[in-house]
Subunit: 241 residues, 2 copies
DNA sequence: TACTATGAGCGTACACTGTACCATGACCGT
DNA sequence: ACGGTCATGGTACAGTGTACGCTCATAGTA
């Protein structure tokens, strides 16, 4: 067990009493800390899936004993909560200084990208009920953007629900698809889907799969299409102040 | 171990050779069968959450030994797949003989209701990649409805993605909310949310929570609002044959 | 009726999980 | 020098999915 200890900078200690635990939180590359534990947990889940994430393996990846993690995380549940909040931290906030549609489009695109990078996050959301700080900050920024664009409180709520539903639902569907690019889609459709879709039982699905392959359908463009449709549909709800 | 054996109806045996295993599949209230195993698994997950569903507990609920389940299900993964497909079976297909918007509204409302009854299903979808038979039948019916309404293959695909994203995403968000009714929302907002949303840090969220409570906001109506907005936005994509 | 093949049911065992409890030993302030 | 604090992790326990192989009721055959 190679445990390296943080050297506390003197002036920090001079300013106010700092517990050893707090010092750890600041330390970035030495010793353990809640940061380091959660970040490594995210990395592990990205690599091996959420089922491959066990306290023992996580501890192993950190060069520590399993029980040590419980000094930074009360339980695995809390660890999962913290992991989700890290994911929310990665999502871009809607930028200020542009029209609301551009701002929301940007943050939606960012959210989709982040959720695609951490597919396990979607599946975890269902079971955790209380939003973390990054989640709250994100919601605040989004609501601010909508309200400043002239949406009433009620309409901003509607817009929020609709946009988030679309983004999460899209990410959820995307996570359960075995292809990403147009090339992979064409490949899988011809070799896997079409044989499973006999035209007498699934005439329409068969037709769709065949036609989409022929047209060179690219699933990567799907997200923007629906997003812009939703944004356009929301525009009239705005009390154009 | 009270194992009751199926009495095979003679005329069934006369018609063609039927293995004992197949007879079990048909039997509804005696012995085990894949049906019975999966249905009981769904019930158990509804009652105790998906984390409370273990092979041993499921076996216990069926009055059987743990290893007996593996005669009907190759692995727990396959069990989970089958459970999801049962959920899809519960969702109403879009009815024929009405305009496409009414049909899609009906099936979307049904889907939301079913997913709200089985919240664990949403969290499971992320990890399973191959759709079951009920899922395929459902997709076929939806695509048929859209194509008959005059959507091209490509536009029907867009509509499908958008509608499903909305439904799944809404269900996902709903599953992670601790309230259902307007009364519960008002209660929780005042006692739990507002204290966590200091106006200097979260001015807009604070304002929203307060205003929504004052207006008697009912989260149950939220779904239809967004759904109708989406349906209206899709209408112009239709090549009104 | 006796014999055999089949296959449902499940007891046992193994590697693994989350985590409660407790011992260790380094660091700090006095 | 000493006592208190606290990060660390070893051990243990209940519970997990499931591989293996046994029992024994049944169906089919002779």
């Amino acid at each position: 067990m190679t445990v390296r200890w943080t050297i506390v900078k003197p002036f920090e200690r001079a300013r106010r009493p700092v517990s050893a635990r707090e010092q750890r939180q600041v330390a970035s590359d030495a010793g353990l800390s809640k940061q380091r534990v959660v970040v490594e947990a995210v990395r592990l889940a990205d690599r091996e899936g959420v089922d491959g994430l066990s306290m023992r393996r996580l501890a192993g990846a950190l060069g520590a004993g399993a029980m040590s993690l419980y000094h930074y995380v009360a339980s695995k549940e809390e660890l999962l909560d913290a992991m989700i909040d890290i994911v929310f931290e990665e999502i871009e906030l809607p930028p200020e200084g542009t029209d609301w549609q551009s701002a929301m489009r940007r943050r939606a695109v960012s959210a989709r990208r982040v959720l695609a990078c951490h597919p396990w996050a979607i599946g975890l959301m269902e079971s955790r009920t209380s939003p973390g700080p990054a989640n709250l900050r994100h919601r605040e920024a989004v609501t601010a953007c909508l309200r400043r664009a002239g949406f009433t409180v009620l309409m901003a709520t509607h817009a929020n629900w609709l946009l988030d539903s679309y983004v999460y639902g899209f990410a959820l569907q995307e996570a359960s698809l075995p292809f990403d690019t147009a090339y992979e889609f064409a490949d899988m459709a011809e070799d896997v889907f079409l044989p499973q879709l006999p035209p007498d039982e699934f005439p329409y699905l068969n037709e769709s799969a065949a036609a989409l392959v022929a047209a060179g359908y690219d699933p990567a463009e799907e997200f923007i299409f629906g997003l812009d449709l939703v944004l356009a549909a929301l525009e009239p709800l705005r009390a154009s102040a």
